[in-house]
């Protein structure tokens, strides 16, 4: 397609990061910690994700509810995310401005094949849009104890879903969790829910309980109606299961059944109050 250039300018950018995001009591985030190319909206997004990751940890440490070592997980989790962003960003940069004749030719070959070949179209990389990174299912996360096909694995960010509160008010799943730890229960048995609530009440960090139901019960109001069954679908929920949500809306752990002891252990681990079980045993 013929075109005319209206305006041409040059700008430069860097893809780089600090080796450490935590230096004792000094924490680096956003552009101060890492820089990427502008392709894919990774700069601003990752800065906000950094602060989402850090804020609740800082709050727990300042309140004396978690050890200062919890802040090291900010560095490992967001360093992991920064590496992922830099990788994507570097690849986009390579595609958009290839260095040297041969690399440019390879890029041009992709463009010339793109009209007729889906695989080449998929290679066209003008910036992959930033999506939340999936944190490793270790560290603060508790890996699945049982197979759980589909859904949202520990470490991943919670997807949203439309819900309805008792009384008919429309709301969203992401509005119901976040800011504090929360245990998401799907179609729980009343006795298991009550036992869990009782156990959590005595925990120094604590967690909200958010109950989802696919059928609105006639009584009570402490539940949210998954009327479109999208939460059930997106999280691959089965009746009686439980998900522990971090305050930054990443999944910390999930279980096929409500096991208060396992939930407390995962809560302690996610709050940095204990290490993963194997590390504890070795220490």
């Amino acid at each position: 397609m013929p075109f005319e250039l209206e305006w041409v300018s040059l700008y430069t950018f860097q893809c780089r990061r600090l080796a450490r995001f935590r230096h004792g009591r000094v924490l680096f985030l956003g552009d101060a910690a890492h820089q990427v190319s502008p392709f894919g909206a990774r700069g601003g997004n990752s800065g906000i994700q950094d602060s989402d990751n850090l804020a609740w940890k800082l709050a727990l440490v300042i309140a004396g509810k978690a050890p200062a070592s919890l802040l090291d997980s900010y560095e490992s989790e967001r360093g992991f995310a920064a590496d992922e962003n830099i990788l994507h960003s570097t690849r986009s940069t390579e595609f958009i401005s290839p260095k040297g004749k041969a690399r440019r030719r390879l890029r041009d070959a992709v463009l010339s094949l793109a009209a007729d070949h889906g695989f080449a179209r998929a290679m066209v990389n003008s910036g992959r849009l930033s999506v939340p990174c999936i944190l490793p299912a270790e560290g603060l996360q508790t890996p699945d104890a049982e197979p759980w096909p589909g859904g949202v694995p520990p470490g991943a960010a919670l997807p949203d879903a439309p819900l309805r509160a008792a009384g008919g008010r429309d709301c969203w799943l992401l509005g119901a969790v976040g800011g504090r730890f929360a245990v998401l229960l799907f179609e729980p048995e009343a006795a298991a829910e009550a036992r869990l609530a009782d156990t959590l009440r005595h925990h120094p960090v604590g967690a909200d309980i958010v109950v989802l139901r696919s059928m609105a019960p006639a009584t009570g109001d402490a539940w949210l109606h998954d009327h479109a069954r999208l939460a059930e679908q997106r999280l691959a929920l089965q009746p009686g299961c439980a998900c522990l949500m971090r305050p930054d809306q990443h999944v910390a752990a999930r279980w096929r059944a409500v096991d208060a002891k396992a939930i407390l252990a995962a809560l302690d681990r996610a709050a940095g109050r204990t290490g993963p079980p194997n590390i504890e045993a070795a220490a």
Binding site: D108, A109, S112, L113, F119, A120
Partner: protein, 69 residues
Amino acid sequence: VNPDALYAALVDLHRGLDDDQSALAEARLTLLLAEALGDVERVRRLVAEARAIFDKPREAGDARPEEER
């Protein structure tokens, strides 16, 4: 595979093309062949093989990429 026929098929890529056109056709062919292989690991091994005459031999057990050695 008939080796002469295979070679002739690749030579045919360049029929009637000038050097720049040939180079672009080669790049297109590379992409089509890589897609036909359908296996990134195999492509990585073949890439390493193709550029082996330019790469310094690695010491045994040194898996670092070239630029870090």
